[in-house]
Symmetry: C3
Subunit: 372 residues, 3 copies
């Protein structure tokens, strides 16, 4: 195993043992943990610690920091109606949907009919325009379902209506540059040389899943399978996908970059927080808990944009905020213990999501960080 052990604080030495056990056959993993603002674990296996890879839905945690900045600056109010910023959104029974509801997966806009195409997803406004015209797939407020792809265009259009910038532009200007972090929503061409592509063959969906995604654009089964629709994941991992940096799933980062962006925002230890602690605390409040109509899974929970730690994604205390990604990447911050945890993997299996292999490391960090 080709291991780059940059630093492991002796108090967290056991993390190295756990890290060595993570899938030795996968292309590469990076782990960067900070406690109270100081790096305590900085490891990489089979990959350069400064290389970057697509982190899929971990992008949502980066986007959430940009949204937090909008609220910190008084430009966005979570309790306001979306349509007050974006009038066209009021169509088809959506006039009363609040920003809070839209950003906690309650708006019933996990897809449109006919379904959104790759071309629309990789346009600054096309998918948002289609979503604004759509009737919610469920009565808003009656349930929630992961807006895996669509929360990206929704967040970006909201940002654009307020600032004149796409979410990628606003994030780059207000979060990534000040944080000086290798965590991009929209990767410049010049940095392509630092990209580690996902493991050769993206593992294709199983026969069962493939059956759910027929070539026809007509939704073939219930609500859930339709939500992930016809956008192939490879559209997010090619150069076009990296360049666009879809705010929901197209981010490219190293574990170091993820952790640095988050630490900059949270200001753990003696640092000055990049966004308001009050806003982050507000965003960490549980908005929904239960059966996710998009993922068809129980015990899912969201704050505002951020995932909440639950028995199926047990990454932290009740105050922890974070997001996992389709390939297993993870970024979270936990104010209890003042932990920041960034993890990337250069591999992709469907449906992916939370990577159980890092649970022992998560638990170890919490135990030690909160012990005194």
């Amino acid at each position: 195993m080709e291991l780059t052990q940059n630093f492991v604080d002796p108090a967290y030495a056991e993390a190295l043992d756990f890290f060595k056990k993570i899938s030795p056959d996968q292309k590469g993993s990076q782990l960067l943990v900070k406690v109270k603002g100081k790096t305590v674990v900085d490891l990489a296996a089979r990959v350069n610690p400064d290389s970057m890879t697509t982190v899929f839905s971990v992008s949502k945690a980066l986007s959430a920091l940009a949204i937090a900045k909008l609220v910190t600056d008084g430009k966005l109010d979570f309790e306001e109606r979306v349509s007050s910023y974006w009038p066209e959104f009021a169509a088809n029974g959506k006039a009363e949907i609040t920003v809070r509801q839209m950003l906690s997966h309650q708006a019933g806009l996990i897809a449109t009919d006919p379904q959104i195409t790759v071309a629309m997803i990789h346009d600054d406004h096309a998918a948002a325009t289609a979503l604004a015209a759509q009737r919610p797939l469920w009565r808003p407020g009656s349930g929630f379902g992961y807006h895996g792809l669509t929360i990206g265009p929704l967040m970006s259009e909201l940002c654009f209506r307020i600032t004149g910038l796409t979410l990628q532009q606003f994030y780059d200007q207000e979060i990534r540059r000040p944080a000086n972090a290798d965590a991009y929503l929209g990767l410049p061409e010049s940095l392509e040389r630092r990209v580690t592509e996902l493991d050769g063959d993206v593992v294709p969906p199983s026969a069962e899943l493939a059956a759910k995604y027929p070539k026809s654009t007509a939704p073939q089964s219930g609500l859930a399978s339709w939500g992930f629709g016809i956008v192939p994941f490879v559209a997010l991992t090619n150069r076009e996908g990296r360049a666009f940096g879809l705010p929901s799933a197209g981010g490219v980062a190293s574990a170091r970059g993820l952790a640095e962006a988050m630490q900059w925002a949270m200001g753990f230890g003696e640092a000055i927080p990049g966004v308001s602690r009050d806003v982050i605390e507000d965003m960490s409040q549980m908005q929904v808990y239960g059966y996710d109509l998009g993922l068809e899974q129980e015990h899912r929970s969201f704050g505002t944009i951020f995932q909440k730690s639950t028995p199926v994604i047990p990454f932290g205390s009740y105050r922890a905020i974070g997001h996992d990604g389709a390939a297993g990447a993870l970024l979270y911050a936990d104010p209890i213990g003042e932990i920041v945890f960034g993890y990337t993997v250069a591999r992709f299996t469907y449906p992916g999501g939370f990577d159980r292999e890092i649970q022992p490391i998560i638990d170890l960090i919490r135990k030690i960080a909160t012990a005194n």
Copy 2:
């Protein structure tokens, strides 16, 4: 097996094979499927294809078409409070309940205390009067539970307050006659000769279920068992039950009649829809999903009156609308594929509901109808 094979479109030939496998020991089955307005399957086994039988809760799908007509005509607004049409309904904390909530099983009126009798169910107003006076069994909006019997009197009184006609009268005038369909809510005496009674001995409830329904009128256990209360199903299947045509469970139809009523309303293919497509789309929006307090079952979901397709009743796409019946009958329409599916069985087992034996036919129809 005595099979009447009126027509099977060659593209759907496999449906015949599946149909032949359906319970050969049951009294009779009818199946009528239309795609894009054209009949593609028209089969009957051990029964005349034009005979009619009690379809139990499939009646709710017929009633739903009548309610859709009221909205199409601008006479009813789903977002309005029930009490604005029916002032007495405001009693006991129900002033704010909307028509939408009442018609999606959220109003907490699955029964009254003391319980509704057969005589009240078979009166145009008595059950509705009792329900209007009742305190909701749960805080409206805090959950939902199948109003198996009571949604009938509730719909009928709402219709009466608006039109001066019972739901049966309004349905007959506005849906059944224009559609020229053998699907009745209230069967004329003259058509009794075409009735196929349910299989001789109605299969009685199990000992366990019987224990739940003591002779005492006092509710003996939790909310759920009380909901179906003391109305024996035979009250719906005798001549009195057929004549009254309880809008929730007393309908009498052939599979042809069910499909013709639905096709007339939907206007698939080149036909003119009998009710507004916008209204149907609105009624197909998921209103509730989860644990049904009346059925004590997870993964139940309703639009407005109509059942939604879920893993426990997987009859169609996210846009499909329909209803199953206690004996296994089924009627649905799916705008994706433009499918109309009518099925009846002359058998009754408790608790009945969705008939798994027709799942292969449902899946086949969808696959072929949506293939191009």
Copy 3:
């Protein structure tokens, strides 16, 4: 077995057989059942029938009677906002929370951060002051979770703001004294001689549970374990705990006392109800049903303060109101059958809760009481 058989109505003779089977190794049990106002079962094993013990969360049922009196007297309105009685409660996004929501475990105040101490719990206002300042742990209305300890200070402060009396004082004056019942929230020193302490060694939490409650005050895992926090149960069962009588968990009573307080309030048989029957009926309406975020358990349900009977706590009809306690004590009333049931145990195992050993007695009483 040392059994005190004060009275068993011949119609309920079988109850004696069941009672004899209850854990013969536990320190003591008392059972008092009334039907239509008359005692039908009065039993005690290994303990004096007039001795009293800590009944933990059964205290909430006693407190609920006091709250019912406040509403009966027109001093409290469940639909009013808490902040209209208690302005400081409006802090941190709680201005719109209604009394109803707070009293049905929906307010998201199962704990504060940092956590409430024993000293705060045993002060008339300190815990309430901390709770009033807290941000709700979930968006109020988005779910519910058992406020095992904290509903006590919340109820008491609400009572104090209205009456100038703590809930313990108001309960003693308005419920316990008129009912002349040995069921105390705050036990006078003079009655200490009648106390049966819980079985010698309070059974400690398992290793697994102990791991959830570290010495650190920092919440170590998700929302649920934090809710019960750092207050050891022994704080409720020592003299200080009995003297304070925390309205959520510090009550001290005999089974006779529990039943007498409840019968006085309900007025079954020919008695005059101590509180309005309308108010009790209103409080018995299901407010929430489903997954309890505090207990991490499905099929939990609350009316207003009172627990509802569900498959996991099957104590009565849909109209029954009651509460179980951590050690297994139980108090409920069921208007269907006019049953009052009081049960105590002088034992404590963690986490305790509903005692399955008395299920056969519960079922027997219902069957006979509702038979005619």
